[in-house]
Symmetry: C2
Subunit: 553 residues, 2 copies
Amino acid sequence: MAVENRPVRFAMAQIDTFVGDIAGNCEKVVKACKKAKANDADIVVFPEMTLTGYPIDDLVFKNSFRYQASDATRQLASALKDNGLGDLYVFVGSLGLGSLEAQEGKIWYATDHNRLFILHEGEILDTYDKHFLPTYGVFDELRLFAPGDKAVTVELFGKKFGVAICEDIWREGGTVGDLRGDGIDLLVSMNGSPYNEGKMKTRYGLAVEKGTKLGCPLMYVNQVGGQDDLVFDGGSFVMDGEGNLLAQARQFAEDMVFWDLGAAPSKDGEGDVNVCRTLGSLDEQVYSNSVLGLKDYGLKNGFDKAIVGLSGGIDSALCAEMAADAFGKENVTCIFMPSPCTSERSEEDAREFAKALGCKFEEIPISSFISAFDSLGLKDGAEENLHSRIRGMILMSYSNQHGGLVINCANKSELATGYFTMYGDSVGAYSPICDIYKSRVYKIAAYKNTKGGCISQSMLSKAPSAELHPGQKDCDVLPDYETLDAILYAYIEENKGRAEMLAAGFDRAKVDQVIGLVDKAEWKRRQCPVGPKVSLRALKHDRQIPITQHFFE
Amino acid sequence: MAVENRPVRFAMAQIDTFVGDIAGNCEKVVKACKKAKANDADIVVFPEMTLTGYPIDDLVFKNSFRYQASDATRQLASALKDNGLGDLYVFVGSLGLGSLEAQEGKIWYATDHNRLFILHEGEILDTYDKHFLPTYGVFDELRLFAPGDKAVTVELFGKKFGVAICEDIWREGGTVGDLRGDGIDLLVSMNGSPYNEGKMKTRYGLAVEKGTKLGCPLMYVNQVGGQDDLVFDGGSFVMDGEGNLLAQARQFAEDMVFWDLGAAPSKDGEGDVNVCRTLGSLDEQVYSNSVLGLKDYGLKNGFDKAIVGLSGGIDSALCAEMAADAFGKENVTCIFMPSPCTSERSEEDAREFAKALGCKFEEIPISSFISAFDSLGLKDGAEENLHSRIRGMILMSYSNQHGGLVINCANKSELATGYFTMYGDSVGAYSPICDIYKSRVYKIAAYKNTKGGCISQSMLSKAPSAELHPGQKDCDVLPDYETLDAILYAYIEENKGRAEMLAAGFDRAKVDQVIGLVDKAEWKRRQCPVGPKVSLRALKHDRQIPITQHFFE
C-alpha cells in the first residue's frame, strides 16, 4: 500500500513485556497495533525480544520454549491479518531458531539468534539478527545467542530503512557500520536497555554519532518495565545527527508516540504525533525507576499489596512512599514494631508519617516476644539480631496471613558493608532502594517531598540508627555516610583497587575498613538477595574471596 | 638437565586452590614442588588457573586483581628458583593479560586469557592459551576470556608434549585437533572440572578418544575442593588410547601421584609412583562430594564448626553425618527443637541419633516461643511457617552467640517444589544435600550406614513429614517421592517440556502439578539460596516466569 501525499507514520510501541509469557506478549502486540492503526500509522516498532520478553537467559536452552517462541512469530503475523491489521508493517523481536542439533546432547555454543521480524499481510517479510552481543555487566548474550553478520535494509513507501538491535548501535562498525553509504532515510533500532542514572544523555549521544555517520535520524524504541533485577525505562525517541529531538516517549511508563518521517516536532501536551514528552529530573528518574521496578516485581510475581516494616527512619519511610506509588496507598500496610530500644522520636515519626501517607498502620510492640526468648541467654550482637529477626518474622507472618509482598528496605550502603541482620531486616524479596546509597536516599526523599511526599524534617535530619541497643548510631561502627559512600562508589562503581583509592586521597584507615567490610559482606549478601542483582554491580559475578585479607591492592 | 637411563617423572599436583588468594595459592605450589622434587620428579603439573583459583568470574575485570595475578607468575618462577626448585618444569595456570584498553572505560569483550605457564629456572619458558571457552551450565568463559588459537608443544628430555586446558579436550578440533600428526608422546591437560555423578567415566572416554587420535596417553590433572557453589573432585589420571589406566589420583582430596612416562602401572597401596588409587562407588562419590563441598564452604568462609537443626527425619540426620565428616563430630552441635506437633518417634529418633553420632546435642522445645506469638492470631500456613521460622531464629541465634555455620538441610526435591518456609527451614548458607533428590537421600544414607553411619532404621522407614501440624505428611500435598523425583528429573535434569513428559508416559495431572510447583517456586528459591547454584541447573539462569501458566508445553 502506498502512502499518498503524506509522510510515513511510525508508531513507537513502548510496551512492558513479560519474560516467558509469549501468548500475553502477543496479545499486547495486537492491542498496540490496533491503536496504531486507529491513529493511521503505517509502521509499528516494538522493543527487543518482544514476544519472549527480555532478557530470557537460559530459557533459550529449553526446546519447548524455543519452539513456542518460534511458532509464535508466524501465528502473530496471521493474528494481525485476522484482526484487519495486515497492512501494517510490524517490527517485533523474538527468538530466531538456530540449529536444533547444537541444542541437543552436549550444548557448548549458542546457535539461536536475537532476531527482528518484519510482519506484513500475514507473512514474515524480512528478518535481521543482532550482531553485537553484550556480555558484561547484567548481560550474558554470547552465552545465549549466535551473532548475525548481515546488515539489513528495507524499502517501504519509497523510503529506505536500516535496522539494528540495541548493542548494535553502541559499538563501532558491525552491521550498522555496513549501512554507511547506503543512503538510508532512518535507522530503526529496537532495544532492551536498562536504566541507570544519566543514561538518556548517553543514548542521545549515540543518535548523534550514528546520525552523523549514516546521514539520517535514529529511531530508538526501548522496552519499559521491571523484570526481576532489571528496570527498563522506555524513553523511546527519534533524534537526528545534529541532536535535534524529533520525538520523545515517556520514561517509566508504557507509551505510544507517533512520528511522521520528515515532519517537524511538536511539544508535550499537543497530542501523540511528533510529540516530545518532557523528561523528569535525575532525582525524579531515580525515584520513578524504583517505583516501576517494585510495581512490576509485584505484578509479575502475583502481588498487588505491600507490607513495610516502618522504623521511624528515612529508609523505610521512602520505601513506603514508593510502595504507595506502586500499589496505591490503600494497598500498603505499614507495621511499626517498637522495642525498648526504640526512641520516642522514632515512635512519633513513624506514627505521623503513616498517618500523613494515609496507608494502613499497625503497631506491634515486640518487647514480649523478646522476653519470650530470655531462656536463650543471648548477648550483644546475638541479642540485637534477635530483635531484628523477630521483626522479620512478624512481617513474614503478616504476609502469610493477609497476603502482600514484604518490602525490603535496605539501601546500597548497608548492603555493601553488610550492615544488616541475616533473616532479620534482610527479609523481603525486593528493596526498591537497594541500588541507592544512603547519602542519595536523603536527596531522593527530599525530591519526593516536593511531589507530595510526607517524609518529615525530623526523619531527614536525625542521625541514622538501627536502634538495636539504646543510644546506638550507625556512625559508631561505620564512617559517616558521605565518606563511606564516596569510598564505596570508588570501589564498586569505579572498580578501583586500594592503591588507586589511596592515590585519590582517601584516608588509608577508612579505605581499609570499607574494603574489609565489603569483601567480608559478600558472604552475607549472597544469602540475602533483596532485588536488583546490579545493586552491587562490580561484585555481581564475584566468587567468595579470602575474608582475612584485602587482595585488591 | 637430561634424565639419564630413567623415564621422565611427572608429579600430578592435585591441590585445592582458593579463588582470589593468589599469595596463598603460590605458597601451595612451592610446597607441592618441594614434595615433587624430593620424589625425583622432573615435571610438575597443576590444575587450571592455579594461581588465581577457579572460577574467577568478574574478578577478571578488576585491574588491581589482574595485575597481581599477572605479576604473580614471574614472582612464582623466581620463588621456585630461590627455593632450589628451578630445575623442575612446572606447569601452572593463571591469568594471561590481554589489552588494558579493552578493560578500561567501556568493556564489551574480554581480552585476557585462561593461560598455562611453563616455569623453569626462574623464567617463563612457554605459555599456552585455552582455546575452547565453555559458556553453558556453570561456566561463563566467553564472558571472561579471549580464546587462544595456537597449538603448543614442548620438547623436554627428548620427549614431545602437547598441552591443553580442560574444555580443549572436550571438543572436536581446535588446538588439540591441530596436534594430530605431531607425534607427541603425551597430551598434558590441566583442568577445573566440577563433579557430577558418573563424570570419571566420561573423562576416561575423552582419554580414549584423544589417545586414539593423537597416538599417546592423556595426563588429566584436575582441581580438587569446593569453591562456593561448585565442587571439584580431583581424580587426576593418566590413560592411554586403549583405555589402560596408567595412574589415578584420589577423588575428593588433595593428592600427588607420580607417573613415569613409559613405565607400567602399580596398584593402590604400593606407593605414589605409577599408582592407580581405587575410586569409590557412585554412592560414596556423591557422599564425599557433599562432605568436601561443605568442608571447603566452611573453610573458605571462616567456619570450622557447624550447627544442625535435627528434626528426627532423615535429611537433617544425613546432613549431620556429613557435617561430622567435614568438621569433626566434636565441632558439630545438633539442636532438636520439638513443638507440640513433634511426634514421640521423632523425639526418640533425634536423641538416639545424636547420641550415636557423638556430637554435641541441645534440646530446645519451642512451645513457649510459639505461645508468645499467640497475639498475632496466626492460622494454617502462617502458623506452620511461624514454627519453622522460630526454629530458624534459634539456629541463627545460636550461631551468633557461639559461632558455627548453620547447615541448611534442604534436599533437591524440596527446593524444586518450594516445599520449605522462607527464612524458616531455609536458613543456613549451605545445604550439602541440595543437589540430591529425596529418593536418593535414602540411598546415600544407607550407603553411609555401611561406613559407620548411625541413621536408624526408624528414620529410614518412616513417612516423611515436616511436622508443622499434627499428623502431617509430605505426601498429603506432594506426589510420592519416587514419582515426584522422576518427574523432576525429566523436567530439570533432562530439560523436557510438558508434551515430552506426557509422551514419556507420566501422569498428566501429576506432571501439571509438578511443573506448576517448580515454576511457582522459582521466586522462593531466588530468595533462599542454600548452596550450589547448580542445584537446579536447568533453572540456573531462568528469569521469573508467569506463575499462572505452564508455558513449557
